[in-house]
C-alpha cells in the first residue's frame, strides 16, 4: 500500500484530525489559566461527580430490582443515594449554568460547548422525570396520572405513554442516560479543545 493510499484512509485522516485538535497536553492539561482559580469554576466538575454517583447507584438498583429497593434497608439507602445524587447533580448544574450564562461562555467559538450543555440539561430533566415515573410506588402512580394529560395535550402521548411503566423504565435506564453521558463527554471534550472561556476584559469590545 502506497503512502498516498494510507493517507487517504479514513482512520489515518481521523487520527490526524483528532491529534491536531486535541493533543494529549490539551486533553489532560496540568495547568489552567489563573482566572480558573475561583469557586464558580468548580460546579461543572461537581455536576460530573454527581453524575458518576447517579450512574453507579442506578446500576446497583438495576441489578437488584424494585423489590429490593422498596423493602430492604440497604436497598432504601441506595435508592435514597440515587435520589440525593440527582438533587446535587441538578443543584450544581444550575449554578454552573448561571455562572456560564453571566460569563457569556459561548464567546470565542464556544457555541457548540454551550449548546451541548443546554441539550444535556434538557435530557437530564427528561431522565429525572422518567425516573420519578418508574419508581413503582404510589408517588410514581400520582406523578404519571397527573403528567399524562400534559403529555397528551402535546400530541406525544401516543409515542411517549407515561402510564406505561416498562416504556418509562427503558427511557430512564437506557436511552436518556446514554444520551446524557455521551453529550457530557462531548461537552467536556469541547471544553478541552476550546479551553475555559476567559473573563470579560474591562472596556474590551465583545467579539461576535
Amino acid at each position: 500500500m502506497s503512502t498516498t493510499e494510507i493517507d487517504r484512509q479514513w482512520t489515518t485522516r481521523l487520527r490526524k484530525r483528532v491529534a491536531g485538535k486535541l493533543p494529549p497536553e490539551k486533553l489532560l492539561p496540568d495547568t489552567q489559566p489563573t482566572y480558573v482559580s475561583s469557586w464558580i469554576y468548580v460546579f461543572g466538575v461537581t455536576t460530573m461527580a454527581a453524575l458518576i454517583v447517579v450512574i453507579a447507584t442506578g446500576c446497583v438498583l438495576a441489578i437488584r430490582g424494585p423489590q429490593w429497593w422498596h423493602t430492604s434497608s440497604v436497598g432504601l439507602f441506595v435508592n435514597s443515594t440515587h435520589l440525593w445524587s440527582v438533587e446535587i447533580f441538578f443543584f450544581a448544574m444550575v449554578v454552573h449554568l448561571w455562572g456560564k450564562y453571566f460569563m457569556a461562555a459561548w464567546r470565542g467559538g464556544r457555541a457548540m460547548t454551550w449548546m451541548t450543555g443546554v441539550v444535556t440539561f434538557l435530557t437530564s430533566i427528561a431522565a429525572a422525570f422518567t425516573g420519578y415515573a418508574s419508581q413503582s410506588n404510589f408517588d410514581s402512580q400520582w406523578i404519571t396520572t397527573q403528567a399524562k394529560d400534559g403529555i397528551n395535550a402535546t400530541g406525544a402521548g401516543a409515542y411517549f405513554n407515561v402510564l406505561n411503566l416498562g416504556q418509562m423504565l427503558m427511557w430512564h435506564i437506557v436511552l436518556l442516560p446514554l444520551v446524557a453521558v455521551l453529550l457530557t463527554m462531548i461537552h467536556v471534550l469541547l471544553v478541552r479543545v476550546k479551553g475555559v472561556v476567559p473573563p470579560f476584559e474591562v472596556g474590551a469590545e465583545v467579539r461576535r
Partner: protein
Amino acid sequence: MALFNLSAALLPLNTLGRYLHWHFIELSVANFIVIVLMIVTFVAALLLPFPGRRGRKESP
C-alpha cells in the same frame, strides 16, 4: 429507631406540602428553599476566596 422517630417528628413527611402563592406562581416551600440555597451558593462562589490562588502558576 429513636433517631428515626426524632427526625420524623422534626420533618413530618406524611403531611400535605406547604405552598407559596404569588399571583399565578405556585411554589412549594421545599423548592423555594432549594432555589434560595442555589442563589446563596452562586453568590458565595463569586465572593469567597479560592484556596491557593496566590502564587498559582499560569499556563501560557
